[in-house]
């Protein structure tokens, strides 16, 4: 299968690879997927007091599309408010990376990772977790 140029670019030059301090109350961590399914994404955000995402990092075990989806997600998250981040839809990622149908699950996983990181941050700061639509993939 041929990958799109954008997937290859993110894959070869992944943005924001790394680890934030998961114990900090300003950091939210989302860990989604499962090793036996062939993809695991860990996405972390650092949030300022005025609810803006100042930093985002990821590490992903998975195929090229999974790595590119999470790399793109961190790029998009930086500078966004939590509310803006929550509006990122997996189909935006599909479109931007020109993912083929068999790789849509990678974008769904990235969306899940964003929401799961936000929830981790919220819970840490005494807020209620947002009830997420159960995605099926």
């Amino acid at each position: 299968m041929a990958y799109s140029e954008k997937v290859i670019d993110h894959y070869n030059n992944p943005r924001n690879v790394g680890t934030l301090n998961k114990d900090s109350k300003f950091v939210g961590t989302g860990l989604v997927g499962a090793p036996e399914c062939g993809d695991v994404m860990r996405l972390q955000i650092e949030v300022s007091e005025d609810n803006v995402i100042t930093d985002a990092k990821f590490k992903t075990f998975g195929c090229g599309s999974a790595i590119a989806s999470s790399s793109l997600a961190t790029e998009w998250l930086k500078g966004k408010t939590i509310d803006e981040a929550l509006s990122i839809d997996n189909m935006d990622i599909v479109e931007e990376l020109a993912l083929p149908p068999v790789k849509i699950h990678c974008s769904v996983l990235a969306e899940d990772a964003i929401k799961s990181a936000i929830n981790d941050y919220r819970v840490k700061n005494g807020l209620e977790a947002i009830v997420l639509e159960k995605s099926h993939h």
Binding site: M1, Y3, Y11, P14, V17, T19, L31, V32, G33, A34, P35, E36, C37, G38, D39, V40, M41, R42, K59, T60, F61, G62, C63, G64, A66, I67, V102, H105, V108, L109, D112, S135, H137
Partner: protein, 403 residues
């Protein structure tokens, strides 16, 4: 060095230029139909086919009359299993095979189950070999056929065919083997091995695509299969259809070259394979899959834990290899062969198969080692699982979100 480096010789092999040379006249001036008995065009084509039959027979130690030309190993597998099932249904309806067989065998058996066959699918041990005691225990008076592959396409393990054949014969069943990966690579002798039917194809041994063989024993016992295609009664009535003369001539030449070069070639290839494998196996958390004593000389299957196979292949775009990960398929199921060895899904997802061949050089192997090491290290830097492993976190204790 040519890029990318081709290390997927279990999928197919390049055509040897010497084979091409032998084939060329049969596309043009020697274009006749081998079944045309009344003129020189037909005789010339038939001569080419007869000579090829001798070349094939010599490689596997049989007589020319025992060779049925087909379109490939898949057709040969179908013809053997369906043909035996129909021909011997008076005697019984039980077939024994193994879970690590190629789909050409497994799906043919599944098809026959719908038509009244009872099929036993033997499991394999951790090293990929079947348990002979289990085979013995599965034999019944209704067993008509035991079909176990010679060498496995994914991990290269060689089944104990002689012993399997002896057990089948002791219980009055025929022994069939899909030897697609073995013929031309290691010595295969249908008499010494006790093989009654055997399928293989030309394009795995530097011959052309679209041509293969079903060997059908004629003596001790005389084996018959019911034809699966109706037509002009070619190939002793077992496989109708105008013979693919250029393909058959190419197959014959490919067999001859394999026979003459096998001994030195298998020594050369296993040395290269061992170099590749032992170097890569020195990497942390890398695992060689399958039995390493009884196996084909040109195959290595290695899992690199905490990186995913498809992502790894993308990082190794300078190498043409294959992975046990099936991330591209809708099912998301990794290789059934690796899983049947008891490999966990994540290790199966992390596997790479290297298939060396006649045109593989030592420089290419050195390059393949360097590319693999770099790619694995790069992806591990990106892998949350690798980080957790390094921190001493037990991944099996984590509750992963199902998806």
């Amino acid at each position: 060095m040519k890029q990318p480096i081709y290390l997927d010789n279990n999928a197919t092999t390049p055509l040897d230029p010497r084979v091409l040379e032998a084939m060329l006249p049969y596309f043009t001036e020697k274009f006749g139909n081998a079944a045309s008995r009344n003129h020189a065009f037909g005789w010339v084509a038939e001569e080419g086919v007869d000579y090829a039959r001798e070349q094939v027979a010599k490689l596997i130690g049989c007589t020319e009359k025992e060779i049925i030309f087909t379109s490939g190993a898949t057709e040969a597998d179908n013809l053997a299993i369906k043909g035996v099932f129909e021909m011997y249904k008076e005697k019984g309806n039980h077939i024994i095979t193994a879970v690590t067989e190629h789909k050409a065998v497994l799906d043919t058996c599944k098809h026959l189950e719908k038509n009244g066959a009872r099929v036993t699918y033997l499991g394999v041990k951790e090293d990929g070999l079947i348990d002979l005691a289990e085979l013995e225990a599965a034999m019944t008076p209704e067993t008509i056929l035991v079909s176990i592959m010679y060498g496995n396409n994914e991990i290269g393990v060689i089944q104990p065919v002689k012993e399997i054949a002896a057990i089948a014969h002791k219980h009055g069943a025929l022994f069939m083997t899909d030897a697609t990966q073995a013929v031309g690579k290691i010595p295969v002798d249908v008499n010494a091995d006790g093989i009654d039917l055997m399928a293989f194809s030309a394009h795995k041994m530097y011959g052309p695509k679209g041509v293969g063989v079903l060997y059908v024993r004629r003596k001790n016992p005389r084996v018959k299969v019911t034809a699966q295609m109706d037509g002009g009664g070619h190939e002793r009535g077992m496989r109708s259809g105008t013979l693919n003369v250029p393909g058959i001539v190419g197959l014959g030449k490919a067999c001859e070259l394999c026979r003459l070069e096998m001994e030195s070639e298998s020594i050369r290839l296993s040395a290269l394979r061992d170099k590749l494998e032992s170097t890569l196996n020195k990497m942390e958390e890398s695992y060689v899959n399958g039995n390493t004593q009884h196996r084909l000389p040109h195959v290595a299957n290695i899992s690199f834990k905490y990186v995913e196979g498809e992502g790894l292949m993308m990082a190794m775009s300078d190498l043409a290899v294959s992975s046990g990960s099936a991330c591209t398929s809708a099912s998301l199921e990794p290789s059934y062969v690796l899983k049947s060895l008891g490999l966990s899904d994540d290790l199966a997802h992390s596997s790479i198969r290297y298939g060396l061949g006649r045109f593989t050089t030592e420089a290419e192997i050195d390059q393949a080692i360097a590319v693999t090491e770099k790619a694995v290290n790069h992806l591990r830097e990106l892998s949350p699982l690798w980080e957790m492993f390094k921190e001493g976190i037990d991944l099996s204790k984590i509750e992963w979100a199902e998806h």
